[in-house]
């Protein structure tokens, strides 16, 4: 997993609520046995017409936002299916940070396990950032995870909260499995005392 430190990029505004993971990556693209290559089909139905041509009006098809690494979205982003293909598709496209008023639980976990930073902010701040983002190519934002700050195009600073363990893992690119395996004694002890009825 790549380490997350600071990120400077234009932010793409996607002011839709309840963006589900089927919308992020439809099921027909889940037949891969790899984690890569899904970016081409990210937001497939929003991004492409049925004949495969791009829909000009979709934000990530506009020249200013084609290389955005930050997405600003509406509440309950990532709801629905548990597919980790959703963060894989975002990452493969180049999105490393999503900012929204709220996220669905499973998507939240899946994203941080892949090095994507999710930032929750109140709706008013999202509205402000969305306005900033709509300025396009000249309006870059900088996200500093260490300081927990977003610096907008006008230099305004917004502070954000992040779970300390997730922050630590993101900043150091840590894989939880290795950390947990270091506790295998505790796991074995639990197994030994566990209720045999369920084991």
């Amino acid at each position: 997993m790549e380490k997350f430190n600071t990120l400077t990029s234009v932010a793409a505004p996607l002011p839709l609520i309840n963006v589900d993971t089927d919308m992020i990556i439809p099921a027909r693209f889940l037949k891969t046995i790899k984690r890569t290559g899904l970016g081409a089909d990210l937001f497939s139905t929003l991004r492409f017409n049925q004949d495969g041509t791009e829909r000009e009006e979709f934000v990530l098809n506009k020249p200013a936002f084609r290389n955005s690494e930050i997405l600003i979205a509406g509440k309950n982003f990532g709801c629905g299916s548990s597919r980790e293909h959703a963060p894989w598709a975002l990452l493969d496209f180049g999105i490393k940070c999503v900012i929204a008023p709220s996220f669905a639980d499973i998507f939240y976990n899946n994203s941080s396990k892949n090095g994507i930073l999710l930032i929750k902010l109140p709706q008013e701040q999202i509205d402000k950032l969305t306005e900033d983002a709509e300025l396009g190519a000249n309006a870059t934002m900088t996200i500093n995870l260490e300081a927990q700050e977003i610096t907008g195009p006008d230099g305004d600073i917004i502070k954000f909260e992040v779970d300390s363990f997730k922050k630590h893992c993101l900043m150091n690119g840590l894989d939880d499995i290795g950390l947990t395996m270091a506790k295998s004694d505790k796991i074995a002890a639990f197994e030994a005392r566990q209720n045999i009825i369920v084991a």
Binding site: M23, K75, E84, F165, I177, M181
Partner: protein
């Protein structure tokens, strides 16, 4: 101080292996269901690091999302689907995990198979790389969906790093009237609390109307907990639970069974326990439900009309409604029963158990599918299919013009050949009406099995009371 705990607290407390300073806990996982779509990258991860599956004996695999529901003797036509299913077979062999392959009569949708085999038990923690894992909460099991990185974590360590959910309780009081099913109850609950209403919560379901449901009905309710944003849905285990599990292949036997039942009886919320949030409804408020939009919270009663976005004051919500109506090809104010369908789908982990099939069959008996409607029944497992065939239900469906298929997820998510074409409209017993869920451009109305069957007969959405 109030030491009273909820059912969820009890399940959580009995599985904590270790607690970190920030409150994140390492939680033991008793049961792990694995399927072909969300596991290949996890097994590859193990291989790359030279890791094993810690407890293959607590892991059960089944192919369901991708499998064809027609001729199983042929090779799978779709190459990518075939590769994914073959990868599951290879991974299970390499890591010593039990697999119900496509030819096995026990094969089916993982959330139907787990309970049916007695793999799902009260008091356990159960996970699967699928958001509808909440289904198993019907048994008083702390069950929830996880992503692929977490699948890998469970395979390697039999644990997960979790933060505890908040406690929420949904009570539906009253006596369940005829014609109101578990599906109507859960759709009405989602309509009330919204798709994000349960975010971060474990929901316990109680109240006479909910408690009176059969195990199948309880599974339908818990299955859709995730559609309310909650990760876990729970019913306290009771006599119905024990009766359902007794004698199942993987249920405890003999003295172990007796001991298990004694323990399971202790799994309930203390009377004085306090919930972070309580929702109380009365079943008399609830009519048969149907969705009009592209989120499961977009529900109305079948005798209602498509709602009008102009009446919505929240701007984000109004935009979403307008977008949904455009996608669904509907106009505000139109009666729901005027909506014509092309397809009726009876299946999915929400409604493909024997009771669901029976309910649909009782509506169909002696009737015919309307001209131009494609109707299919996809049983939840090979065993459900077998029971239905023993009862002659397959013949009722076939005579009425339904297709009678093999078990799998099928048109619930359109990964196999079963899908809606652009603009086609379905009355579906599945759980998600998202844009494109049942095929690109496809339009979904979520309903109960009886309502899907009735819509197939009439060619439009219909109130069961109006079926002559």
């Amino acid at each position: 101080m109030n030491n009273a705990t909820t059912l969820y607290d009890k399940l959580w407390n009995s599985h904590v292996v270790d607690e970190q300073e920030d409150g994140t806990c390492l939680v033991y996982i008793d049961r792990h269901l694995v399927h072909e779509v969300t596991s290949p990258q996890a097994f590859d991860g193990l291989r790359n690091e030279g890791r094993n599956v810690r407890r293959p004996d607590l892991t059960l695999a089944v192919a369901d999302h991708n499998v064809p529901t027609t001729d199983r003797d042929k090779q799978i036509d779709d190459e990518e689907s075939r590769i994914q299913i073959e990868a599951l077979e290879r991974n299970c062999t390499d890591f010593g995990v039990e697999l119900y392959s496509m030819k096995d009569i026990r094969q089916g949708i993982c959330h139907v198979v787990g309970p049916e085999q007695g793999f799902t038990l009260p008091g356990t923690t159960l996970v699967c790389g699928d958001s509808h894992t909440a289904t198993h909460g019907a048994f008083g099991s702390m069950s929830f969906g996880i992503g692929t990185s977490e699948v890998e974590h469970v395979l390697a360590t039999q644990t997960l790093l979790l933060t505890k959910c908040r406690n929420m309780r949904v009570t539906v009081n009253g006596t369940l009237p005829n014609g109101i099913t578990a599906k109507d109850l859960i759709l009405a609950i989602i309509g009330k609390i919204g798709t994000a209403g349960g975010t971060g919560a474990a929901i316990e379901f109680t109240g006479d109307a909910l408690k009176s449901l059969t195990m199948e009905g309880r599974m339908t309710v818990c299955n859709m907990t995730i559609e309310a944003g909650a990760r876990v849905g729970l019913f306290a285990p009771d006599e119905k639970t024990f009766e359902y599990l007794k004698g199942r292949p993987k249920s405890p036997k003999g003295a172990a069974w007796e001991a298990a039942v004694e323990y399971w009886k202790t799994l309930k919320t203390d009377e004085t326990a306090i919930f972070d949030e309580e929702i109380v409804m009365d079943v008399s408020e609830i009519k048969p439900q149907v969705t009009w939009g592209t989120s499961p919270e977009d529900v109305v009663a079948i005798d209602g009309c498509v709602p009008d976005p102009d009446r919505e004051t929240d701007i984000n919500r109004r935009n979403k409604m307008e977008r949904s109506l455009e996608y669904m090809g509907l106009t505000a104010g139109m009666p729901m029963t005027d909506i014509k369908i092309n397809t009726a789908f009876i299946g999915s982990c929400t409604n493909s158990r024997i009771e669901d099939i029976r309910a649909a069959a009782s509506v169909i008996e002696g009737r015919k599918v309307a001209h131009g409607v494609q109707a299919l029944v996809v049983p939840g497992s090979g065993l459900v299919k077998e029971i239905a065939e023993q009862e002659g239900l397959d013949q009722i469906f076939i005579e009425a013009g339904f297709e009678w298929r093999e078990a799998g997820c099928s048109m619930c998510l359109a990964m196999n050949a079963d899908k809606l074409g652009p603009g086609e409209r379905a009355a579906s017993t599945s759980n998600r009406n998202f844009e494109g869920r049942q095929g690109p451009g496809g339009r979904t109305h979520l309903v109960s099995p009886a309502m899907a069957a009735a819509a197939a007969v009439k060619g439009h959405l219909v109130d069961l009371n109006d079926l002559d």
